[in-house]
Subunit: 515 residues, 2 copies
């Protein structure tokens, strides 16, 4: 019904050319990444921060971290002055922090459309979609294993979402493509179906190398060596374990000047202590060790201080999201990242609900708001996450993507010039009047208030006549409309051909693997 409505509205204006122009206008509108004009919210005192920093160094020095199945990493650490015993690397107080100093505080990630390039660091906030779920869900098909066609749909939705700056990475796991080949299709989708920046593969060092090779086709070889065109996700196997797959991928990216998010994977009570201070101590120790290691690979390699934060429900063992403790950890991690002078990744549309219902929205809104105020620079999972990350939800993707508009507007801060002061309006209207028709309102109303493109603002009677649709039903219609309106962004045919050829050649070179 909403679809039909939208179509009739669109055709009202006239002929085919006008219609196409309007469609194009709709499809390419994307907000610039956020530059905050508001303060960060900080929960930790100077004393607390110093305790954490001291304790993290103590952990690195006394307990150390493991670099697993990675003799070259151990050798690098030994040469840098660490104490290496077996796979355990103990890092003398101050060494990791000193090594981290060569990592840049701000990263420009280039998109193939230069207008979509993003800055990661300082007061910026870049929003990227959900990453990693093996399942998808929508109202029409329920919950099911994700396919490559689902993946492409999410990339198209991301391209069409005006508050989303980044195309992301594994927006869902395309389980119908062999494990050893799906990264090729995923990257190909990001590169051809969108012109927003994207992430590379990290599931094997060779796949990271494929990602770099494909970027060299898309951007040109020289450009890639001089510039950052991917931001990829390197999880720490918390507590304090760096496995060879993730580190191998990090090595590929760092040596090619490509950005990585070094992200402790924190499930409070399981992979980290049950306390905020303890968790932050471990997070800082892990980030210091991981980012220091990246600088041993290539000083100046662009890195992001990551913190994926959830806590555990001690009754059921389930991970929980949008909780107060996650908020404290995220705020605190932001403070630690800024003291290190590193860009910060955290937060997202986190929730544990099975459906895009009120639970999903409460938990998501809690988490998104924390992310904004914590000074997050790169927010992975900013839309589409459901069921603790097991599911990419089509409806929730567009619901969250709409809410991301609120972050943009809050971040703008408050204008204080004469027009904003509105003294003439107050004088004109006076006691008992109203502002709807006054000159100041007429001059300013178009940009004064953020407006949802999805939520219901209709009178009760209209809403009732139209079938009493809840947010999930409205979102389902919006998904279909956006996919119907989608038009692929143009790409140089020679590049398109070369990318397709690379993918075909690489696929032919390997037998299929499904685990």
């Amino acid at each position: 019904m909403a679809e039909a409505e939208a179509r009739s509205r669109r055709t009202r204006g006239g002929g085919g050319a006008a219609r196409r122009a309007e469609r194009t206008a709709v499809s390419i509108e994307t907000a610039r990444y956020i530059e905050r004009n508001i303060p960060n919210f900080e929960v930790l005192s100077e004393e607390a921060l110093e305790i954490i920093e001291t304790n993290a160094e103590t952990i690195l020095e006394e307990v150390g971290v493991n670099f697993v199945d990675n003799p070259a990493a151990l050798e690098r650490w030994r040469n840098a002055g660490a104490d290496v015993t077996g796979e355990r690397v103990r890092i003398p107080r101050g060494l990791a922090r000193k090594l981290c100093a060569t990592a840049p505080s701000r990263i420009t990630q280039h998109a193939r459309n230069p207008e979509r390039s993003v800055e990661i660091g300082g007061k910026s906030l870049v929003l990227a979609p959900v990453y990693g779920p093996p399942f998808v869900r929508d109202m029409d098909g329920g919950r099911r294993y994700a396919t490559m066609e689902d993946f492409r749909k999410f990339v198209r939705l991301g391209y069409m979402s005006k508050w989303l700056h980044h195309s992301g990475g594994t927006v869902c796991e395309p389980t119908d493509v062999p494990v050893n080949k799906r990264h090729l299709d995923m990257l190909h989708a990001h590169m051809t179906l969108s012109d927003k920046p994207f992430m590379g593969s990290v599931t094997e060092p060779s796949r990271a190398q494929d990602s770099v090779d494909m970027c060299e086709i898309l951007f040109g070889k020289e450009f890639v060596q001089d510039n950052t065109v991917m931001t990829s996700l390197i999880n720490v196997n918390s507590p304090m374990t760096f496995d060879d797959v993730m580190m191998g991928s990090l090595e590929v990216y760092a040596s090619n000047n490509q950005a990585c998010i070094l992200s402790p994977f924190i499930v409070g009570g399981a992979m980290a202590p049950v306390s905020v201070m303890g968790t932050l101590t471990q997070v800082l120790a892990e980030v210091l060790a991981g980012i220091a290691y990246s600088q041993l690979i290539r000083p100046g390699a662009p890195m992001i201080f990551g913190a994926f934060v959830t806590s555990i429900d001690m009754n059921s063992g389930a991970p929980t999201f949008g909780t107060p403790e996650a908020a404290h950890i995220t705020y605190g991690a932001g403070q630690l990242a800024r003291r290190l002078g590193l860009p910060f990744r955290s937060s997202g549309s986190f929730n544990g609900s099975k459906l895009p219902d009120a639970q999903a929205a409460y938990e998501t809104a809690n988490s998104l708001n924390v992310g904004l105020l914590a000074g997050v620079n790169f927010m992975l999972h900013s839309c589409g996450w459901l069921e603790g990350g097991l599911v990419s939800s089509f409806e929730k993707f567009v619901m969250d993507a709409d809410q991301l508009g609120t972050l943009h507007h809050i971040a703008r801060g408050v204008e204080i010039d004469e027009n904003a002061q509105a003294m003439d309006a107050i004088r004109e209207v006076g006691p008992g009047g109203h502002y709807l028709g006054c000159a100041h309102t007429q001059a300013n109303f178009k940009n004064a208030f953020w407006r949802s493109d999805l939520l219901d603002y209709k009178p009760f009677e209209t809403w009732s006549e139209e079938g009493e649709r809840d947010t999930m039903v409205l979102a389902n219609a919006r998904v279909k409309k956006m996919l119907g309106d989608y038009q692929q962004p143009p790409l140089d045919p020679a590049i398109a051909e070369a990318l397709a050829a690379f993918v075909a050649t690489r696929k032919e070179s390997m037998p299929d693997a499904f685990s």
Copy 2:
């Protein structure tokens, strides 16, 4: 189903006495009002604040405010040094602020159960339920006019809600009781079905006097004159109009030392300018004038700086909630209130949705989080609000009331003592281990993380087998369980009898009025 489950769990423990004891334990658990151990979030610079303060004084001096149908008020203003022409009161620069200085910065509102008394001001946050809707909604009966029996159910739910500190006022409009008598039934319900603090009637000065008289029965005459036992809601008819009904009620409460919230009713773009600065200027002018007036009635009368904030959707004219502009105004109003040294009321479970769905939850969570960080001291509407305030929703009441737990836990801030630092845990677990069984986790897990009493944390398969219930369905079951578990708090039979007699006598003294 959830109900049946809960019952079987409850009976597992043994005999009737144990069961009754457990029921009693459940029913009386109420958290203390929040005392924040976190900073306030402030979006306005010193420069912006000074501009607003200067401009508000200019408005009071040049434009003035109207006191409608209230000759005594005009006389009081004239005697205080204001320029009065007709009903327009122009207040010389500085006068209103000077008069406000006698209002206390902190108010103790006593409950009949002293453990439930609350502090309003400083770092406190007191949570009160939805106020004013003429309709109620639940899954069983849909949307319908509210009745006195609905009202009683909400009071019982409020009493049973552990994160709710206050019983509120007009939790819904009991439309089946005559307009001129319903305040008696409403107050009687708050006084007898709950032992939490409550609000008085403001719809007529005589009803405010009834409220005071009933409090004198409940608390004793002397106690009421020396202490604050009600916090009542006085709306400004924005822009800058103070009507005789609201002011008449304010006069009754102020002269009896009872607290009022002086609350500009801001619908940005309609009752206030479309800009944040302009709106805050008007809010401050209105609050200064209203609270100054209360101090002309009785210097030292306890007052709260209120700001009910919503903006308007300029496409449809609908009020919108949980928006970025409302956030800016709420943060800014908090700063202004603190500079005046007055307790601050704002925020709530605001949303424009027709159903307790994702829209309702996004908008509510946005608004609740802003309220916490804006330094709100008294949050009316903190649970149960639906459809722009037209509807009190049973399901949303318990959904929001559950989420209020997150505010309590965020407000606690971060503990930094040795136990919180968890160094022994990190040492014990080491790289690659896990924290579930370690000594620190065992010692701390019970209080480490906030846990919802409502939301779904179950494995997918269990959830699926149990009927794929969404949050609304879970909430519906919780409403029924809470009302089933409810037990009335004890009250001195002599007082109960006197209250009933007062209500009966007052009702008999008046013919029914329905408008």
